[in-house]
Subunit: 428 residues, 2 copies
């Protein structure tokens, strides 16, 4: 394979003609494929159907401690679900509040309360001239939407194979008191799939924030979402590391079962220091009388314990691995050596992140769309939807079938090639 | 019966001695009764148990429109649950968003978003020097906690038998631009049980707010919570009346199934003008990907339609009516003619509101507590927990059994008598 950059103009023009021919034949196929959102596929949803039998009209509705899950109470979640989520998040039960169906909603609430009430008694952020968040990029669009919604300035931090650029993180956090938070997906990161190295986690824990109300938003969305049984990422325990470093209150951890049981009908949790949990509970008690404890009971009884969760995740891994491989095999087979794009082979999570030549991502997404293949909008993985390089594209392979993914990936690589040729010709 | 106010000091002292004797005998009984919170009783929770069989592993999980409730989507709620809640709230389906398990949480969110983002583009309340809410009193403590939490000034408005003092409401709303909202429980009000008259609802709809971002928070928590089949309150449709009056955006309606299916595991909804709904959806889309649609499906299939809801509510009415009657009969038998307290016989809702002689409520609650009978804290029904008259006590009769309620009511009237005698003697 000859790298495009080494091609002559004539070679590129010939290639372009051939690619356009191929593109035209695909135009007629009326494809309708969606690789845009991290949604579980149909086969995955079936895995949790037996959960719906676990609680029925004959069930004992009381928790282990005897509380009736059908009535008000247990604002911090029923004991068994706190234990389950604690084990999943590698923290102690007392450090966990189990909430409703959405960890995103908990994150939103944490930011929202910080805006109106500050953090553990600090000045409400809405009273400050400037509040900013660090945003490792590429990252999760819905994180960035929350901070954008609240008018919080977002600062891009490059995300490397072992985590964010910690020199830059330390520079900002330790010197700029307007920096109040950082969005992290530390394991099987959305979208690149990388996990933070031990050194990165330790450097996080040892930050010396200029702002007393600085918090790490540690969204461990994919903590048990391995793709393989033999190669699995593990990350250091941030809560423990923060304690060791004398920063016990510096991190909020988030997780949910949205991609374990049912998206939208799972349970979610926040974990933090006992001090933070006490503050959160006080505020939460104004907001609600309690979360859905019957659903908490349903989850606890179905999964039983962390081993049950791990067993269940194997089913998911088996279902989605072929879809990931369909994409990765196609990328490898069609793009290797062309030097028009790079990607990481993830060992878990929900995404494959692709970096095109600078200035090509929007064009690729548009070309795919014209052929009926919908991708996450180019730029979505960056704050304000602006990828300064116009290069990153997030591929979500889980929702279509493996066969559909193969088709979609074929369309994708074609569009990558065509957009890349166009880019090189433009510059000649 | 001789009214206490007409008694001589000697008569009062004799009475006091007798009451204290009676009090002493109760001290030995080690009672443990709770009339503090509006929680359904054990027998009521059983009514909704069959709901837990409606969705099981064999169920078709798709909505009427074919959407899979097990996956992301339908941020505004599945169609059938929107229809169900719309019928319950007497509005159209398109005016409704079905949310999670707590209407209180929706109200909190509406206030919170108004703080940070204003209302439909108005200045965020957190940027204003003063924001205030009108609070018909006595009212729902958790409403007041929300506005207190956000530092919103609360202004007491007397609640009469037909609704709030509308002269006062008009005076404030139409002249004071700092007044941004009013908390209303328009039907079977918490705690007095009264319902707003047609005239009151029309006067609400015809307000001419000085503030463009003024909203009526219409918490129709007990909209179908009748106690009797023959005498039922109905209130005018506030959304329609607001439209007619040229104030289509002025009201937010709230409701939930917390006291229909399961507290904490029900579904909740907000209804408003299409314009408001559009604004809310835009903001909500930042907060969450969606609510628990499987639980929405469970509710829709179990209740089927508004008739199903009404039938179900008859079961609740039959279960709690004897408890209300246990209290009301005791009040009538023991206190009528003594002129030491007044109460309204509610036709629905969850509470009985008792007004003691001024300055006696705290004493009554304390005396009850000493005998093992827990009441909602005196003052809780007022903003900041301060009842200027120290007179209102909320009785929640639903959680204990009817027999327990009879015991508790007996304790209650004894404590009312004793506290009243003490008050009169104090003044002599």
């Amino acid at each position: 394979m000859k790298a495009y950059k080494d091609m002559t103009k004539d070679e590129l023009l010939t290639l372009k003609a051939a690619l356009e021919e191929e593109y035209k034949t695909l135009e007629g196929q009326g494809l309708n494929l969606n690789m845009a959102r991290g949604k579980p596929g149909f086969s995955q949803l079936a895995f949790s159907m037996p959960m719906l039998d676990v609680i029925n009209s004959d069930s004992d509705m009381r928790t282990f401690l005897g509380n009736d899950t059908r009535n008000y109470g247990d604002l911090d979640g029923i004991g068994e679900s706190r234990k389950l989520m604690a084990d999943m998040m590698s923290v102690q039960k007392d450090n966990v509040i189990v909430c409703g169906n959405s960890s995103l909603n908990i994150m939103y609430d944490m930011v929202s309360r910080s805006m109106t009430h500050g953090v553990n008694g600090s000045t409400p952020w809405c009273k400050l001239d400037k509040v900013s968040f660090l945003c490792p990029v590429p990252g999760y669009d819905r994180h960035f939407k929350i901070t954008e919604f609240f008018g919080i300035e977002m600062i891009n931090i490059p995300l490397y194979d072992d985590g964010p650029d910690m020199d830059l993180v330390e520079k900002y956090v330790n010197n700029d008191a307007s920096v109040k938070g950082i969005w992290c997906v530390p394991k099987y990161s959305n979208p690149t799939g990388i996990s933070y190295s031990d050194e990165v986690v330790r450097r996080f824990a040892n930050l010396k924030p200029a702002a007393e109300d600085f918090r790490i938003y540690w969204d461990n969305a994919y903590c048990i979402h391995h793709l393989y049984e033999d190669v699995q990422d593990e990350i250091l325990n941030i809560l423990e590391e923060c304690e060791k470093a004398g920063n016990p209150d510096m991190v909020y951890l988030f997780a949910s079962t949205s991609k374990i049981s049912f998206p939208g009908s799972g349970i979610s949790a926040i974990a933090s220091s006992l001090n933070n949990i006490e503050h959160i509970m006080k505020q939460m008690s104004v907001q609600t009388i309690g979360h859905d404890k019957i659903n908490q009971l349903r989850h606890s009884r179905f999964f039983k314990d962390i081993n049950g969760l791990h067993e269940h995740m194997k089913l998911h891994a088996n279902a989605i691995r072929p879809k990931f491989e369909a994409v990765l095999d196609t990328l490898e087979a069609e793009l290797a050596g062309l030097e028009i794009g790079s990607w990481i082979k993830p060992r878990g999570g929900y995404f494959i992140s692709f970096n095109s030549l600078p200035g090509c991502a929007k064009n690729i997404v548009a070309k795919c769309k014209a052929l009926g293949v919908v991708l996450t909008g180019a730029g979505a993985t960056f704050p304000y939807g602006k990828d300064p390089e116009d290069s990153n594209i997030r591929i979500a392979p889980t929702f279509p079938t493996a066969e559909e993914m193969r088709q979609a990936a074929a369309v994708f690589v074609l569009c990558v090639k065509l957009a890349s040729v166009e880019k090189y010709l433009e510059q000649m």
